[in-house]
Each structure stands twice: as C-alpha cells, then as structure tokens.
C-alpha cells in the first residue's frame, strides 16, 4: 500500500459509510428528472426538440457529479476544522501526493454517485444508444469529476472556514451548472448566453457525455475531450500549488 492509495481509500470508505448522504443527494436529480423531464417534455417535443428526458438525463448525471466533486474538494475545510488535515500534513509524504490521493478519491466518489444517477435514469425510461460507448461515457464522467474535485480543492485551500461556502455555491457552482447546456440545447441561444456557455467547462463535459450516451453532441467528441483534459490538467496544477501553500 502506498500513500496515494490510502488517501484514496479513506475517501471511498467515508463515502460508503455515509448512507444518508448518498440517499439524500439522490433527491435533487430525481426532482429534476420528474419536474423538468416530465414537466417540460411535452412542450419540448411540440417545439420539435424530440425526447426531452433523453436530452436531460446526461445533464442531470453531470449535475450530481459536479456537486459531489466540488463538495469532496471542499471537505478539506472540514478536515482543517476537525484537525485531521494536520495529521496528513505532518506525515513524511509530499503535499503533491496528498493532493493527488485526495483528488482521486473525491473524483472516484463523484463518479460512483454519477453511476447511481445513471441507473436511476433507467427507471425513468432513459436508454443508452450504444453499449460500446459506455466506456467513453465513463471517461467523461471521470473527467468532470476530476476537474471539479480539483476546483474544490483549490477553493478549499484558500478558504479559512465554511463561511465562504454559500458564496461559492451560489456564485460559482450554480452558474456553472445552469449555464452549461445541461438543461437546454446550445443552438439558437442569445449571443451573451452562448458566449458564457462556451467558457463554462461543464458545457464540454456534458456535451461529451451526451455524445457518448445518446449519440448527439454540439461539438465533436474530440473537442470535448481536448477541452476537458486541458482544463482538468490546469486545475490539478493550480489546486496542487494552492494545497502546498496551506498553513495550519
């Protein structure tokens, strides 16, 4: 066993033990699928958009990954407040390894959550268009998870306590979700919105996931993959840098 593995394992164990958190976090995706999927579905179909649930499901899966991932990253603040962070920072392990282990663990947890939501969408009638594309879908889920766990880690490294958390949720995470094309197609958007969606990294994650799951995407999968990988890479570097600067 090595340091990265044990840090990863810790995140997984904590996740699997928090049954209430797992069940609780399924409420929101179910609500989105029911209220939007069934509520908007008929209007969407009448406007010529096709099956809205099919369009929406990848967005909802990405949503739960986004929230779980940011939350996993932000958990560093808890660890700081409950003192456990000191135990890891005083160990003879480089901060880079600690950051990697945590981020991989957080991302794995977010992917697990995403897979649970994917299974949920089946109950609501969602179907994958090609089983062969499932690995591609998982890859996009993992990239979304990794990107936003690293973002959460970066944010948590500079926040002193949970006071700023609400601010981050309302002014960063929510806009990232709502302006990503999770809920609406990227065609025929007003110019301003179109620009915002293009600089939102989640847009590419969801587009790629949609391409892999239902075979329809706005950009090419190559573009999505390239943009997601590049931003994930940058955020991991930034997160790792900020993490090495933490003082306790």
């Amino acid at each position: 066993m090595n340091a990265i593995y044990i840090l990863w394992l810790r995140q997984i164990k904590r996740y699997l033990r928090s049954r209430a958190r797992i069940v609780g976090s399924l409420g929101q995706p179910i609500l989105f699928l029911v209220a939007l999927g069934f509520g908007f579905g008929p209007v969407y179909a009448k406007a010529g958009g096709g099956n809205y649930l099919e369009f929406l499901a990848p967005g909802v899966i990405a949503m739960s990954i986004l929230f779980t991932a940011v939350f996993s990253g932000i958990e560093i603040i808890w660890d700081r407040q409950f003192g456990f962070l000191k135990e890891t920072l005083v160990a003879p392990v480089s901060r880079l390894k600690i950051m990697f282990g945590r981020t991989l663990g957080g991302a794995t947890v977010a992917v697990l959550q995403g897979v649970i939501v994917l299974c949920l969408t089946f109950i609501f009638g969602f179907r994958i268009y090609s089983l062969a594309m499932l690995p591609m879908a998982l890859l996009f889920m993992f990239l979304i998870a990794l990107l936003f766990t690293a973002l959460g880690t970066a944010i948590a490294s500079v926040l002193e306590d949970m006071q700023g958390f609400q601010l981050i949720m309302n002014f960063l995470v929510m806009p990232i979700f709502f302006l990503s094309g999770a809920l609406f197609p990227l065609t025929n958007l007003p110019k301003a919105i179109a620009t915002v969606t293009k600089i939102d990294p989640l847009t590419y994650g969801i587009d790629g996931l949609r391409g892999a799951l239902i075979g329809v995407s706005h950009f090419s999968l190559h573009t999505d993959l390239l943009v997601m990988s590049a931003i994930t890479f940058i955020l991991i570097i930034v997160g790792a840098y900020l993490f090495t600067k933490i003082e306790v």
């Binding site: 066993m1 409950f82 456990f84 003082e247």
Partner: protein
Amino acid sequence: MENIIEVKNLTKKFNGFTAVDNISFSVGKGEVFAFLGPNGAGKTTTIKILTTLLHPTSGELHINGYNPLHEHNKVRQSFGIVFQDPSLDDELTAFENLEFHGVLYGLKEKKARRDRIEEMLKFVELWDRKDELVKKFSGGMKRRLEIARGLIHLPEILFLDEPTLGLDPQTRNHIWTYIEKLNKERQLTVFLTTHYMEEAEKISHRIAIMDHGKIVAMGTAEDLKKQTGKDSLEDAFLKLTGDGLRDENASAAEGMRQHRAMWRR
C-alpha cells in the same frame, strides 16, 4: 548527553506580531522536557515550527540531526505528535486511523504494520475497541488513540501539546503512566506543553517557562523554585510570569476550547 533538539534564536512573527521571540534551548536524547506558560505564550507555535508545520521567521533548528527547513521528510519521520486539538478521522475506526498513519509513514509490509498497530493499541488499552468508529470514543479514549498513533512508526521524539487538557484525573494519570514508561523503557525523548504544574513537575526532567514568546526561566523544577525563592512550582511560575489574565490574544478556536475546558472542570 547528546542533544536531539537544538533551537537557536528562533523567532516567529505573524504579520508583525511576535509570537515566538528569539528563543534558544536544547533537549537531550531521552529527556522529558516541558514548556510551561500561560495562554498565548507561544508554546503551540514553537511546536508547529519544530514539527515543520510552520516556517520560522528566523533562527536555526535541528531535530534528530536534520534541518526542518530543508529535510522535511527526515524530520517528520523522526517524531510522533499529539496535537493540542483532536486530529483523528471520526468516520474511521480506531484501527483504520492507525493503519492510515502507518501507511503514510512508510510501513509498507502488511504483517509488520498490523503487528505494530496491535502492539500500540494494546499498550494504550484500546485493542478491544479497535473496530469501533472513533466518533463513538470519549475524549480520553481519543487522546490515548492519538498517543498510540504517534508511536506507530517508532519515532525518536514524541511531541505532546497539552495532552491532558480537559481530561478527568484518572485518564490524565493513565496518560502520564504511558509516557513515563515509554521514556524509561525505550529512552523516548518527550517534548510536552502543559498547564498543570504538578504534572510538569512530576514527569519532566527540565522545564522551560515561556511568556510573551520568550523563555523567562529554564531548569529543573528545583532550580526554578530556588531561583525564585518559592517552595512550589506554581508560586515560582506566578512570580516569573505575573498574575495578570492572558486570554486577550487567544484565537477564536483556542478561546472556545479554553471555554469548554473551563466548564468541564
């Protein structure tokens, strides 16, 4: 006696406020050395610098022959630490907490690691609770577990920052018994801070009294009493540090902790 901790002209400033003010001292191998001082004296800050958690503003340091500024990991491998505030993962079991520590400290071989964890859990009398989640533990059990954890990787030095604060007399007594045993049987060097004079006097070979970031006196308990002409360490301490209240500078978390500890007494 060979010195295992050497500190020369150590200073730490936080945005212009001097928390540790040009202190020098050394601790011999196998010695039990206590920092005694009012709240905000700079004890925890000193420990954080010695244990690589904070960078000093200036000064020279050697821990187990290594320089904490350049040889982080060698220094870190040399000591175990029990922090002033709890630092366990409440969502893991006692065993898992120690396993996590063992792996981080490079105990790669599973059997050896598990044997070591078993030995230490038995030492602090928590072996039969090893599979319980730490959140179900009392404050005293958590402290014992932290001591066991600090010893897993066979360190040369054990740092204890107010290890008995807020605990009942029975637990305090147990904890000091463990520490004494480790020191006598394995020549473990112990660096501790405490508020309790009688504990400092009973367990330590030498005591440094710290106030406003400075070491105002250092020596055996007898030395300190002689130096001040008092017959108890408490009177010597008050004579050296004055009897004014010292909680103005305490940080919010520290303040809350003190408050809690006060109500528990």
